[in-house]
Symmetry: C2
Subunit: 255 residues, 2 copies
DNA sequence: CGGAAATTTGATTCAGATCAAAATCAGTGG
DNA sequence: CCACTGATTTTGATCTGAATCAAATTTCCG
C-alpha cells in the first residue's frame, strides 16, 4: 500500500520462490507471480495473523518483518514451530488443509500480503510448474520443523540456541538479509524460550554462555556472529536440511 | 509378491488415499492408483529403508508393518520424527526434495511397495486431482510432526507418552487396525524413548504410571486402552491436527 | 523523566538422566 | 519340553540440567 512497487526481481515473494525452485523461473512464471492479486496489510508486533482452528480462504506472504508459527497447550504453554522470513508463505498448507492446526503471529512489525486460495489455484492451472515450486516450499517448511524437533528432543540448551542462530543467519543470508553474518533478531528472550522449549531464565543464561564463548554478540535487536565456525560446531549445524540450492552451502564456506 | 492381490477397495495404499482425500475418488482414480507399478519387498525389523543423504528416484508405500522416520545427532542421539502406519508413503517428500533429510527404518517386519517418481508424475498428469491428495498427504504428515513437537517441547513425559498412545490408536483406527481400542505396538521401550525425547529408563517408569492409573495395559507387543476418556484427558489429546475427515472424530465419541 | 518491559542474577527445587544390577521374556536348538 | 542365551523390562541409587521463585538492573520509549 505504501512504499515502492517492487520490480519483479526484487519482489520478496518472487525472490523467495526463485530461491526455492529447482529450475530457473521463466519470464512468464515470474510475471504470473507478480500479478497475483494481493491485499497488503501491516501488523504490529505480537499480533496473531491467523489462529489455530481458522478455516482460511486465503494464504499470506510475509513481505517484511518476522512471524512465528506456534501451537499452545490447553494449559497455555507455547511452542514455536518455526520462524518465517521475508518471502515465506507460512500458511500455504491451508490450501489443502481446511482447518489450521497452528497459529501464526508477528514477532516484529510486519507487512503481509494476503492472496486468495482461488488466485493460487488459477496460477497453478496457468503455470503448472509453479505448483511444484509451491509444493516444494511446503516440504521445505516441514524439513525445518523436523530438524527443529531433533534440536528440541535431543540437544541441550546451549546447542539448541546455537543451532537456532545458525539457522536464522543462514536463511536470512539466502534472501540477502544477513550480510557479514549479522541480522535482525527481534525475538525477546521469552520468545526464544518458547521456540527452544526451555524457560526464559534459562535462555538468558545460555545466551550468556554463548557470548562468553565468543561465538555471538547481541545488541539492540541485532545478532552478530563473531565466530561462525565455532558457532556451527557448537550447534552441530549442517545446512543440508534447509534444502537451499547450490551456492548457499558454498557461500558460507567451511573454513 | 506372496499373498493375495488386493481388490481396489482393500488395497492399503488406496484405502489410505481415500481416507485422506477431501472428495470421493472416482473409479478411474482408484484404478489409476491400483495400476501404479510397484515393486514389493519385505524387510525385517530395525532395517533402514532409506537413509538421510540418499537421493532416491522412487518413493515407497508401507503395505504392512510399522516404520519410523528419524534423524540422528552427530553424537549418535536419535529422535523419531513420526511413526507411519499401513498405507502411508513416508518419503513422498523425496518427489520434490532431492536429498532426503531423514532416515526411515522398520519398527517391525514390514512389506514395502516401491514406486518410481516418474510413475507418480505420470499419475498426476493423468489424474490431476490425485496430485492434490498426495500434496495434502505430505501436509498432514507435517501437521503430525508439529503436534509431536509441541508434545516434546512443552509437555512432561507422562503426558507425552499418553499422547503418543492416543495418536497411535486414532490413526490405526482410521485404517481399521485398532478395533476395540487395542492395537499392535511393536516399539520397544528404547524405541519409544527416541520418539519421546527421553531415556528408556524413564519410559519404563512413565509406562508404569500410565498402567497404575488404569489407562492402558501392554502385553506382548499389544497396546490396549482401558480408559479412553482418561487417556485422552491425560494426553490433552485433540485429534483435530490429524486432519481426518468427518467420522473419525465421531467414531471415537467423547463419552 | 518516569514507567513498563526486558534482561540479568541468585537461591532452591525437581523432572528426568545416568549408572548399575536384577528379573523377565522370547526364541533356539537339543 | 526344557535349558540356554541374548534382548527386553524392571527396579534402585544418585546426579544434573533446567525449572521455579524472587528480586534487582538495565533498556526502551513516550
Amino acid at each position: 500500500m505504501t512504499g515502492s512497487l517492487h520490480p519483479p526481481d526484487t519482489h520478496p515473494f518472487v525472490r523467495k520462490m526463485e530461491s526455492i525452485a529447482l529450475f530457473p523461473l521463466s519470464r512468464e512464471e515470474r510475471a504470473a507471480l507478480c500479478a497475483l492479486p494481493m491485499h497488503v496489510a501491516r501488523f504490529d508486533a505480537y499480533q496473531d495473523i491467523v489462529r489455530e482452528g481458522d478455516r482460511p480462504s486465503r494464504c499470506f506472504a510475509l513481505l517484511e518483518g518476522f512471524v512465528a508459527a506456534y501451537k499452545t497447550t490447553p494449559s497455555g504453554k507455547r511452542q514455536v514451530m518455526a520462524y518465517h522470513v521475508v518471502g515465506d508463505v507460512p500458511d500455504l498448507q491451508s490450501l489443502h488443509l481446511k482447518v489450521l492446526d497452528n497459529s501464526i503471529a508477528t514477532v516484529s512489525p510486519s507487512r503481509i500480503g494476503f492472496v486468495e486460495h482461488d488466485a493460487l489455484r488459477v496460477l497453478f492451472r496457468e503455470q503448472p510448474k509453479l505448483l511444484e515450486v509451491f509444493w516444494r516450499s511446503t516440504l521445505i517448511d516441514a524439513a525445518l520443523v523436523r530438524e527443529w524437533m531433533l534440536n528440541i528432543g535431543r540437544r541441550e540448551a546451549y546447542t539448541r540456541l546455537a543451532h537456532l542462530f545458525c539457522e536464522l543467519i543462514t536463511r536470512l543470508d539466502a534472501v540477502g538479509l544477513a550480510p557479514e553474518r549479522t541480522c535482525a533478531m527481534p525475538m525477546t528472550q521469552p520468545e526464544l524460550a518458547d521456540a527452544l522449549g526451555i524457560t526464559p531464565v534459562h535462555v538468558n543464561r545460555t545466551m550468556r554462555d554463548l557470548k562468553a564463548a565468543g561465538l555471538v554478540t547481541v545488541r539492540g535487536r541485532r545478532l552478530t556472529v563473531e565466530d561462525w565456525e565455532g558457532l556451527k560446531a557448537a550447534a552441530e549445524f549442517d545446512p543440508a536440511y534447509l534444502h537451499l540450492r547450490s551456492e548457499d552451502g558454498a557461500k558460507l564456506p567451511t573454513s
